[in-house]
């Protein structure tokens, strides 16, 4: 059985100090946005269902995002780490939606 005493489970003062020192680097990294673009043929219900399936958003949020795509031509449907953004983008494209990633400006 592993002794809990041998594991460091909490931050020490030096850890906090280290985080503060590297904080500036983290802050300057802009998130990557997953963009879904409007097209004239995709049924609205399909867009809602795809958002719900891929992101697990509520029905209201999915509908709101779908309407944003419909009226504004595009919508940011997810923001965050680049690798995850690309993964979500692939899933949206596999589901037949027009999606791209771009870094937040």
């Amino acid at each position: 059985m592993t002794s809990l005493k041998r594991l460091r489970l909490s931050s020490t003062e030096s850890d906090v100090k280290s985080d503060v020192e590297t904080n500036a680097t983290v802050v300057t990294q802009r998130p990557w946005n997953v963009i879904v673009w409007n097209d004239p043929v995709t049924p609205m219900t399909v867009v809602v269902v795809v958002f719900k399936r891929i992101f697990g958003y509520s029905a209201n949020k999915c509908t709101h995002l779908m309407l944003t795509v419909h009226h504004e031509g595009r919508a940011v449907v997810w923001s965050g780490q680049r690798e995850r953004a690309e993964s979500y983008c692939v899933k949206l494209q596999v589901a037949g939606l027009q999606a791209t990633v771009e870094q937040d400006t």
């Binding site: 004239p40 043929v41 995709t42 690309e86 899933k91 494209q93 990633v101």
Partner: protein, 143 residues
């Protein structure tokens, strides 16, 4: 009034109520997607491989490969279950994804990128698009 084409049953399966003509439309769409994914010269190939990150010349090969594998998996699973009366959730999702890929590819290769273009496209093409839209509309209602 015609009945539903797809029905989600209490046990979670999706019942397919397509007649021969409906199955034929679906079969053709699935076959096109499967062929286009394998054949770089297929009309639909480019539309199915749009850039993930348009600001770069080339996509991350791993992302492109992931997309290629998943599209192929969906279309193959759809073809394998083409004659089934009942689909499980994953199979129904593969049908929906493959039909949607087919719909968008059909629109892109025919230059239908706006509502005006859609309204002014030739009758047969419009009928084909409307048929796939109807299938998608009803299948999406099962999710």
């Amino acid at each position: 009034m015609p009945g539903k084409l797809f029905v989600r049953r209490r046990d979670g399966r999706v019942e397919v109520r397509l007649n021969d003509a409906g199955r034929s439309v679906v079969r053709e769409a699935f076959a096109h997607v499967a062929a286009a994914e394998r054949d770089p010269d297929h009309d639909w190939h480019l539309s199915m491989n749009a850039p993930i990150n348009p600001s770069k010349d080339d996509d991350d090969p791993l992302s492109a490969l992931a997309r290629q594998n998943e599209i192929a998996t969906n279309s193959e699973l759809s073809i394998m279950t083409l004659n089934e009366q009942f689909l499980n959730d994953a199979e129904a999702w593969a049908w929906l994804s493959t039909l949607q890929v087919a719909l968008r590819s059909l629109a892109v290769v025919n230059g239908i990128l706006s509502d005006e273009k859609l309204d002014s496209c030739e009758h047969d093409l419009l009928q084909e698009i409307r048929t796939i839209q109807q299938l998608l509309f009803e299948l999406a209602a099962c999710f």
